[in-house]
Subunit: 97 residues, 2 copies
């Protein structure tokens, strides 16, 4: 299993962001190899989104999806001051319930 | 480089949490192999903390730190409804500034 860690700082211009976020949230669920997502953003506009995938190929496929690419473009032009993406291989997992 | 992804849902009882969080935030900076941390929590009490480390041994060393173990215990008893921990190896990284 793989994780894509996306950390980002919103700019002041977030026009259209919420709609795109919702649209991509629905779209990503239909992608092959998509296993889930965790997301949060604080009041200062700093956010973390982690998506989980079966393989590196699935991650690449999602990266090149046309709607996702449009979002990436708008993200750079408008919505984000900066962001970082890390591609990770999950080695171990445990939980408390 | 390794990442520890900690996703958690706060319970209603967060007495003492902020103090412990601050204390550990200072302490973790002094740990060998610690490279940084990203963190956010939303208004519903869902949070993500990602810490970055040089090696799996450094992660294990931090896990067994006495103050950290006390925090883990209090976390289970009081502060968290549930949490998940994932240990990951970072394969690739890129950024937009």
């Amino acid at each position: 299993m793989y994780a894509v860690i996306f950390t980002s700082q919103h700019s002041k211009n977030t026009d259209g962001y919420a709609e795109m976020d919702l649209r991509l949230e629905e779209l990503v669920k239909t992608m092959p190899g998509f296993l889930g997502v965790n997301s949060c953003r604080n009041e200062q506009g700093f956010g973390i989104t982690i998506s989980y995938w079966k393989s590196l190929e699935d991650i690449k496929h999602w990266k090149t999806n046309p709607a996702h690419q449009q979002a990436q473009q708008l993200g750079k032009e408008k919505w984000y001051q900066h962001y970082k993406i890390k591609i990770c291989k999950i080695e171990r997992e445990y939980e408390f319930n």
